[in-house]
């Protein structure tokens, strides 16, 4: 997942708490092992090394691919799980190195969900193309783990996978878990945002740490797959509250993908959100 994951639970006895931790940790590792692009031998590795051959996928992977396809449509092509290859051009390390546009355009040849032949359960990826579940995986893992917790116990539990948070209930004495949203560096000295979450999920999309700064212009790490370049005037961070972590995370990402129009987009969705510019 690339980030610390924690579970907070108000369980009545230690054995139940340990069981819940085991259940959550196992599910998180299972999903990571299965869908991480860094691990050899899993379904994603097989797809990315398929060299144009058709790959048959299991139900869970098929569901994720269907979901990615819907998101591609919903976002007008801006959410694209094949856009990962652009990282060969862009390194967001706070330096001022921006790539040559010719390089970006040549890599863009291998980006585009429309170029993928997906018909359940078979996926055909052109050689040179790669898929990456990084934009969906963490939130998905949070929701799946939460589902397992609810199955096991009604104990109020909070899962926090690197800032993607879900609450399955609120501890009796307080009304909600207090979730702090990190203020971006230029906002130092202002009040830290604290959100009381009694139920449901919070996800944050932001570029507080990964960016490039050149000539006073800040390039966030979220790239527009149609141009190959970072989005113009995206907010510093967007936090969304939704019933599931997947929805919260996707709405936050889609908002960022709207660049300058992020707030307008979020307002039209009739959901709770917090935007920082």
């Amino acid at each position: 997942m690339g980030s610390p994951c924690e579970i907070l639970t108000k369980a009545a006895d230690e054995s139940l708490a340990r069981e819940l931790v085991d259940v959550v940790a196992s599910e998180a590792w299972r999903i990571e092992d299965k869908f991480s692009r860094y691990l050899p031998g899993n379904v994603v590795a097989r797809i990315n090394n398929s060299n144009g051959e058709a790959i048959e996928v299991d139900d869970e992977t098929a569901n994720l691919l269907e979901f990615a396809a819907s998101l591609f449509d919903m976002s007008g092509g801006r959410f694209d799980i094949t856009s990962g290859v652009l990282r060969k051009a862009w390194v967001f390390d706070g330096s001022d190195r921006i790539p040559d546009d010719k390089l970006v355009q040549s890599i863009l040849e291998n980006v585009g969900w429309r170029k993928v032949a997906w018909e359940r359960p078979s996926l055909v990826l052109r050689p040179g193309m790669q898929i990456d579940f990084g934009g969906i995986g963490k939130e998905y893992a949070v929701d799946k783990a939460a589902g397992l917790v609810i199955e096991k116990s009604a104990t109020p539990t909070l899962l926090n996978f690197g800032g993607d948070v879900i609450a399955t209930g609120s501890p009796a004495e307080s009304n909600g878990w207090q979730v702090g949203i990190e203020a971006s560096e230029t906002a130092a000295g202002t009040a830290q945002r604290v959100i009381r979450l009694s139920q449901g999920a919070l996800a944050t999309s932001g570029d507080a740490r990964r960016f490039i700064l050149k000539d006073g212009v800040r390039y966030g790490h979220i790239l527009d797959p149609t141009t190959g370049w970072p989005l113009k005037r995206a907010p510093r961070s967007v936090t969304v509250a939704a019933d599931t972590c997947t929805e919260a995370g996707m709405l936050a990402t889609l908002a960022m993908l709207n660049g300058a129009g992020a707030e307008e987009f979020l307002q039209a969705q009739n959901i709770q959100f917090w935007c920082q510019r």
Partner: protein, 432 residues
């Protein structure tokens, strides 16, 4: 715009395989927290009445730094005992301004009602951590009435020990108060003069106050927290009440000694002197508090012992019991017991047949009395997390004058100005 959120919800349902999820419930904590209260305080017999508005605003910053600002506005009216003892004849006094006289009816405790005043008070406090286990608090306070100005500064350092189960603290406060009473400061033990005579007045005076508090807070167990404080307080300068007098009483009858009036000029009917207190007062206070949680209910109890070099000892016991009713309402009964001994120089009147003492005051607040407060508070929390509360309390003060302080035939008379008071408060806490 099409609702992406709705399409997304459908897609997510298909992905996760769940058909029902509970709706999200999230609320941002407000940046500013306000705590406001409207108070009515009213004593029996048309005595002191106070209506005040209090506002406290708190803003939390990153890294546990907190700014707190407070404002209180009090509007005081009503009469207050001026220190003279009642007897079965009328008594006439010169008003504090020295411009006119007023008369108190026979048999009644003389009450001076010439005070209408509005007081403004502000406080500011900054709290911040330094190091992992220390906190520093720095504050300023100021208040203003037409005849009184207060300026103060305070500093507190706290340190946590034992896995933050113990906190030790030391606090220091200094204040300079300035008195500018109407008509000026009267010379202590000088006689109350005729109208228009301001010859016994001296320039405005001030007093300096120093407070030091040492405290320990300790977590006993999951449900019990206790605190113990020791305070030392030193006040020096002009500690008198410039408006209070003490009457000279006939050693046999105990009645006020009649004064020979100046022909043609209105003035006091009897002999009254302005009070006199020492120029220094040192207090020691020991305070203990415990808060105990019992299955949703909270018992809050405290005890305070005070002793000073004016010979006053006092004990205060305060009990509050918070009793929740359901999820968002509570009832809190309150009981307070207070008792104090009289100041060494307190006496209702001066014996006309003996030498004048160096210090003498008939201020009933320096006398011997017991006080009880009984009250009930009701609070309720709104859906948005704000809280209303209302409380009604009865405060009753019952004093005694020891026989050795009575002069002549004063025994059997109602000398100590007992009173009852109503305290009514309406509060609202909200965030913005």
């Amino acid at each position: 715009m099409n609702s992406v959120a709705v399409s997304l919800a459908t897609a997510t349902c298909a992905l996760l395989g769940t058909t029902t999820t509970s709706p999200v419930s999230a609320q941002e904590e407000p940046a500013w927290e306000f705590n406001t209260a409207l108070l009515y305080y009213g004593e029996s017999d048309d005595r002191v009445q106070d209506i005040s508005l209090n506002v406290l605003a708190q803003r939390n910053f990153v890294d546990d730094r907190i700014l707190t600002l407070g404002l209180a506005v009090d509007s005081l009216t009503g009469a207050t005992p001026n220190g003279a003892t009642p007897f079965d004849g009328p008594q006439t006094f010169t008003s504090p301004s020295g411009l006119q006289v007023w008369t108190s009816p026979a048999g009644e405790i003389p009450l001076d009602d010439s005070f209408l005043d509005t007081r403004y008070a502000i406080t500011a406090n900054w709290q911040q951590p330094f190091g992992r286990l220390n906190t520093i608090n720095a504050g300023l306070s100021a208040s203003n009435e037409f005849d009184y100005l207060h300026l103060g500064a305070n500093l507190k350092l706290s340190h946590d020990l034992n896995k933050r189960n113990t906190t030790v603290s030391i606090a220091l406060a200094v204040a300079r108060d300035e008195l500018t009473p109407i008509g000026g400061i009267p010379v202590p033990l000088s006689p109350m003069p005729d109208v228009g005579d301001l010859s016994n007045r001296t320039p405005d005076k001030s007093k300096d106050i120093l407070d030091v508090v040492l405290g320990v807070t300790q977590v006993i167990n999951r449900n019990l927290l206790v605190q113990l404080n020791y305070s030392f307080s030193d006040a020096s300068g002009y500690l008198n009440d410039p408006y209070r007098i003490i009457g000279i009483a006939d050693p046999v009858s105990g009645d006020p000694v009649v004064r020979t009036p100046t022909p043609g000029i209105p003035g006091p009917s009897h002999e009254y002197l302005f009070e006199s207190r020492p120029a220094e007062r040192t207090k020691h206070v020991l305070y203990g508090q415990a808060k105990y949680y019992m299955d949703g209910k909270v018992l809050n109890g405290s005890y305070r012992y005070m002793t000073d070099d004016w010979d006053i000892d006092s004990h205060t016991v305060d009990l509050r019991y918070r009793w929740p009713l359901g999820d968002s309402r509570y009832l809190e009964p309150h009981l307070r017991f207070y008792t104090q001994t009289h100041a060494e120089f307190y006496r209702p009147s001066i014996d006309g047949g003996s030498a004048l003492p160096s210090y003498a005051s008939a201020d009933y607040r320096l006398g011997e009395f017991d006080a009880i407060t009984v009250g009930l508070k009701y609070g309720w929390e709104t859906a948005s997390g704000n809280e209303w509360s209302a409380r009604l309390e009865f405060y009753t003060v019952d004093g005694t004058v020891p026989a050795n302080l009575l002069v002549g035939d004063q025994a059997g008379r109602k000398i100590y100005p007992d009173f009852d008071a109503i305290i009514a408060q309406f509060s609202y806490r909200f965030g913005k």
